[in-house]
């Protein structure tokens, strides 16, 4: 009887494989999130943009300052998971909501600063070349 009790107690105290896997999964996710954030902070969060293109990714415009020739077309490319917009003080520059995967095109006539009104702190500017 005493042996059976000791066996039961030992089983009760033994770590379960599922428990170990759960600890590894949840701990791994927490660690992966920290590593991902640190890595992307060091790498720069957005993919490189092509000429006359502003990429929206990870809640930022890239580049922060785009130099374009007067009369040229700028493409705002939303590669994020969130909807964004391009809004300037000039009411003529207002993209409306740009859904993920969609673009907004604008022929630039003057330098301007713009922002996404959905995401505070997400801003950038366009300057004219020359």
């Amino acid at each position: 009887m005493a042996t059976a009790d000791r066996h039961e107690a030992a089983v009760e105290k033994r770590a379960s494989l599922g428990g170990v896997l759960a600890v590894l999964l949840f701990g791994g996710l927490a660690a992966a999130a920290v590593i991902t954030i640190l890595y992307r902070q060091n790498q720069g969060s957005s993919p490189p943009a092509a000429a006359n293109t502003v990429v929206m990714a990870q809640i930022a415009f890239n580049p922060k300052t785009l130099t374009a020739a007067k009369g040229s077309e700028i493409v705002f490319d939303n590669k994020d998971v969130a909807p964004h917009n391009v809004t300037a003080d000039d009411p003529k520059i207002d993209s409306g909501t740009i859904a993920p995967g969609k673009t907004f095109r604008l022929v630039v006539q003057q330098p301007f600063e713009y922002r996404c009104t959905i995401h505070p702190g997400m801003d950038a500017k366009v300057v004219l070349a020359g």
Partner: protein
């Protein structure tokens, strides 16, 4: 990866995450109610302690499965920016949630001890999920 996630959700990845996060938050509330039942706390739902244990296990597994799914889409997708403050807090609470979960499973399934702190851990988890919900879903709805 972002493009792939946007494609399979028809460009509505955030909406999917909002729905799943809301389900996880609701299940976290259910978890607290069930735990209160079998820990001798106030009976928020009329149910026997034995049934409460079973519901706690099933809803917990469902919540964790959905939570892991949402977390993975965050990590391979938008994770990285620490601005604005809401995004930084969302990341912080997400990391905290899975750290607390790892500690909880370490205590109850590996070390087989620390039962007395489980109500504290459960409450902390619920509040963390509430914070995750508030810094993502609430903002999404408000922006709409």
């Amino acid at each position: 990866m972002i493009n792939f996630l946007n494609d399979i959700t028809g460009g509505h990845l955030l909406l999917w995450k909002v729905v799943l996060t809301s389900i996880v938050f609701a299940l976290a509330g259910l978890q607290v109610a069930m735990a209160a039942r079998f820990w001798g706390g106030p009976a928020l739902i009329a149910m026997s302690p034995g049934t409460a244990v079973r519901v706690h296990r099933v809803s917990g597994r469902l919540a964790l499965t959905l939570g892991v799914l949402v977390a993975l889409t965050c990590i391979v997708g938008p994770a990285g920016p620490l601005s604005p403050t809401r995004v930084a807090l969302h990341s912080l609470f997400g990391i905290l949630a899975f750290t607390v979960l790892a500690v909880k499973f370490l205590l109850i399934k590996v070390l087989r001890q620390g039962d007395s702190v489980l109500p504290l851990i459960g409450s902390l988890l619920f509040l963390t999920f509430a914070a995750i919900w508030a810094t993502s879903v609430a903002d999404y709805v408000a922006a709409k």
